[in-house]
Subunit: 377 residues, 2 copies
Amino acid sequence: MESSARLIIAAGEQSPDLYYRTGFLTPDPYIYVEIGDESFMLLSDLERDRARKEGRATHILSTSEWEEQAKKDGKRGTAGIATLFLKSRGVSSITVPYDFPFGLAKILASEGFSVSPAEGAFTPSRALKTRSEADQIRKVQEGVEKALWTVVEVLKKATILDGWIFSEGTRLTSEKVKFLLKQELLAHNLIGQHTIVAGGVQGCDPHNEGSGPLPAHLPIVFDIFPFSEETRYYADMTRTLFKGEVASRHRELYEAVLSAQERAIAKAAPGVDSSLLHQAVEDRFAELGYKTGEVDGRMEGFFHGTGHGVGLEIHEAPRVGKTGVPLLPGHVITVEPGLYYPRLSGGVRIEDMLYITLSGAENLTTFPKDWSSVSIP
Amino acid sequence: MESSARLIIAAGEQSPDLYYRTGFLTPDPYIYVEIGDESFMLLSDLERDRARKEGRATHILSTSEWEEQAKKDGKRGTAGIATLFLKSRGVSSITVPYDFPFGLAKILASEGFSVSPAEGAFTPSRALKTRSEADQIRKVQEGVEKALWTVVEVLKKATILDGWIFSEGTRLTSEKVKFLLKQELLAHNLIGQHTIVAGGVQGCDPHNEGSGPLPAHLPIVFDIFPFSEETRYYADMTRTLFKGEVASRHRELYEAVLSAQERAIAKAAPGVDSSLLHQAVEDRFAELGYKTGEVDGRMEGFFHGTGHGVGLEIHEAPRVGKTGVPLLPGHVITVEPGLYYPRLSGGVRIEDMLYITLSGAENLTTFPKDWSSVSIP
């Protein structure tokens, strides 16, 4: 009998740690326990048979076997069954994820367990993608790029009237473009939420999803970050496209962001602190005279991190910002500097995904970003 | 100065309580505090300006104002900033949601706060839908029904060969039908995950999503439960359809589930304990001789709850099962009995959504379920 266990109680769909361990998705919480080399999934009768086919654990058990006992002992719900199970295995101390529900932790503590949150990640290897995981992410990215190509085709055929983009006789809107993107994503079994198609001044707010007619001549930010319904991996790409003639100040804005991104990407390698990528972006913007700060009560310039890890979560370790961590082989990170100036009616962001390898970094993004590709006549 | 506060630290997209309070979606966690009648959102510079447009709180603040101070005091991250803010307001005790991250709760406790999980729901009114919320759910449901009608049209035109359903010259598969459903959902700005189209023996596992060719003559379970990307409300409907001639044992299975569902629905009213709906289903199945239990290592019969609340979560309060709660005006619940017999190669489930009113219950589901509608020649 061991005396310590690792415990997750969560819905498979809510906990990437749990899904990473078991490969099993549920809408409702279930109990997952690791004791030494053994692992246990405790599920309702509704999920047990499916878990035996789809799940990964050394033991897949039904909670209904414990329900009678729990009732007898006056223990209720999932916490009650977890308590009975853990005690039956001689467990006295439990490590749980940092985001384990506080209410559940309190109940387990009141049952006499010593409950501690994991130091750092519960499943640290989740940040280090194997080649096969990187391939899954790349596959999602392929769908993302195909989706954006369909929009490029629409923009190529589009016309301009009074500063607005027209397609098939009507104004092209953010909503219409997002629908096109999501349709193409769906065809690749990808689910895109909060897809951003934000033109002109809307693009100056990095998380504005965009709405209404799309302007010609001004930057349009496309930020697309779906996950695969099959593998649950995300991909993340941003491109900024232009339709029609572009003023030099907007082209300069674009080239500034691109050069900053390229400098950051050039720094990406194993052992390098991720904050150096962020520093490279800030240095480049300073060099070019692009200032960041609050103007007329609104932020402008570059006021977000340079990137984040991507995997079973859209934002996961490691962060790439002011506070860094050493990049490690297996990390998948985005590099996505941006410049946002409401006074110029223009926001520009360019985002690629990198896979840190043993010797450097592979760019998982193949969609072009040179000026001639993104400025559509 | 008050001495107690209510606190959420979560991503708007992860916490229905937070979204319910603020109407603001973020991919990353932010700090939300209620002190007396005042409410505070503390966000990064990246989100602050958007929050001022889209969010609901009496004060919308930027965390960057606190970052210097936090660094000086050696306090880190979101917990550090929350600590500084709460202390500046004289707060000593904090109520958090049951699912508040345990790791964060420990840090706050170590800062001297008394931290308690809320007794029951953090936002109890979330279970009680206003007429306008029920209308949002109904609107999602309309999209769900339109999606299923497109499949009915396909099934009407389909042919049968060797026991399989053929459409446009090839076997109709679960995957193809799910794609059709999701396309139609997308057109209504609805995101459908884990949509179930499970025929024959696959339908005997209630959460099997279904794959491969669809059988004629056998029940096919369609369980569709998307949410609106605009309002975040879910809807949930299950229908079981048949293509071609149906054996009497399968028709009887269908009629049994339908009659059980109708009996449960008839019981739904304010003040009634939700367990009585579940009891009505179990009684009806017993009356008709349909048994539940493990046969050859697999569950058969009726082995899940009768329903659940629907709102900003697909499964929320109140549960409708063995353990009940009194139904209240404003509850939106599903009633979804099922019978699953692998030996009959048949699973049947029928699910409607009810809105409990002051005087009874309104059925939000209008898709027909009588035999002549669900058996498609």
